[in-house]
Symmetry: C2
Subunit: 220 residues, 2 copies
DNA sequence: ACCTGAACACCGTTCAAGT
DNA sequence: ACCTGAACACCGTTCAAGT
């Protein structure tokens, strides 16, 4: 009887295992030693399939932002369609703890990220926006999707603390600032620390899309 | 004759020396050993004045975003005034290489950051915007200032490469994508990789401010 | 109270050697 | 060609011991 031979090491298996570590314990728990351990091998073996940790993170990010297909752009609903794509990217990243942090210094150039870019372009071009407005808008919308996903994950990451207690702490800090120097910050403490589901995210998304809509006759 | 006694170690001296390292070589070059070395001591000595590296970074960020005073808000010029504050924060961070990266996971709560918040609030309240719109707007504007500063620093950080060559590389990548799957990305490659000074930053800033202006009668 | 040397517990990555 | 053990060069932080 042959010993139970391990599954061969593949790029795909490495990426899937890495993602499961991120899902279970967060991005900080992912390191080459731990990952190799989980795969029943040594850290050096990973480098035969992945150039380095940075490339591994690229692959994870691309996997997370994978959307579905490019829907048929409807010029009458372009603002809502754009929002749907942004929400989709945010949700995709948000489903993997603080993985969004790995997006930040990266120009998303993986195949799945490019599909999202193409979706954005299709919707914005159909909306009749000028070419340069379309291009810049895609950039900003992608930036907004990733940075808000990251911000969100910060609260989720501090699992040692009660999130409500943390909000309360911030509220007290703002409220307690010297009134002479920070009258408005103290006065607006409740609004500044308001945390109602996706309300803050939707506010920014709405502002951005409205602003882009206002550019319809600019830069042409 | 007493030996040339070194300046005593102080929090201020630590922060200033740390900033000079960041200015000279970038954020990655800043570590506790290197910093201690520059101060003529050992790494352990730093912990008597600074809780840890994270707190040190907080102090650096706060120093960098230090603006001037709160200008008198002019309701007729509120959009331009908001832009000025955002540009100021971005410029402050941009003056210190890739220090902006240290802002990302952080809620800016240092004294100088709070001055900026108060400035924003004064301008937006004077503009007559609803309280919750004011609060959310400050959040988004600060996020935009820091994330664009960070994005900008990414190009500057790769000093080994010619920035123009890097742009050209991205252009070629977009242009070379399969036309059947990515027709718009390939077609819009020039606009997607356009890099003209602060044009991209100003576009996003303008979109955001226009969007916020459109919220004048929402959430009230 | 402030400082220090030395160590601890971790990293990403490389490289010669194996199969 | 793929894999491995062992090491290299680096981190942030701690702690007992000094002054």
């Amino acid at each position: 009887m042959s010993p139970p031979k391990r599954e061969p090491l593949t790029r795909d298996r490495i990426v899937r295992t890495a993602m499961s570590i991120v899902d279970d314990e967060g991005l900080d728990a992912l390191n080459m030693r731990r990952l190799a351990d989980e795969l029943g091998t040594g850290p050096a073996s990973l480098y035969a399939h992945v150039a380095n940790k940075d490339e591994l993170l690229q692959l994870l990010v691309d996997l997370a932002v994978a959307g579905h297909e490019i829907p048929h752009p409807d010029p009458d609903r372009w603002q809502e369609q754009v929002k749907e794509v942004v929400r989709g990217i945010r949700a995709g990243l948000g489903a993997h703890r603080d993985l969004a942090r790995a997006c930040l210094g990266r120009i998303p150039s993986g195949p799945e990220a490019m599909v999202n870019v193409e979706r954005f372009l299709a919707i914005l071009v159909a909306a009749g926006l000028p070419r340069q407005v379309v291009a810049y808008s895609v950039d900003i919308l992608a930036l907004y999707a990733t940075t808000t996903a990251y911000e969100e994950s910060l609260y989720a990451a501090r699992d040692d603390e009660d999130p409500a207690a943390y909000i309360e702490e911030a509220h007290a800090y703002f409220r307690g600032l010297p009134r002479e120097q920070f009258p408005l910050t103290a006065d607006l403490a409740p609004e500044l620390t308001r945390c109602e589901g996706d309300e803050r995210f939707e506010f920014g998304l709405d502002a951005l899309v409205r602003g882009i809509a206002a550019m319809k006759h600019d830069m042409s």
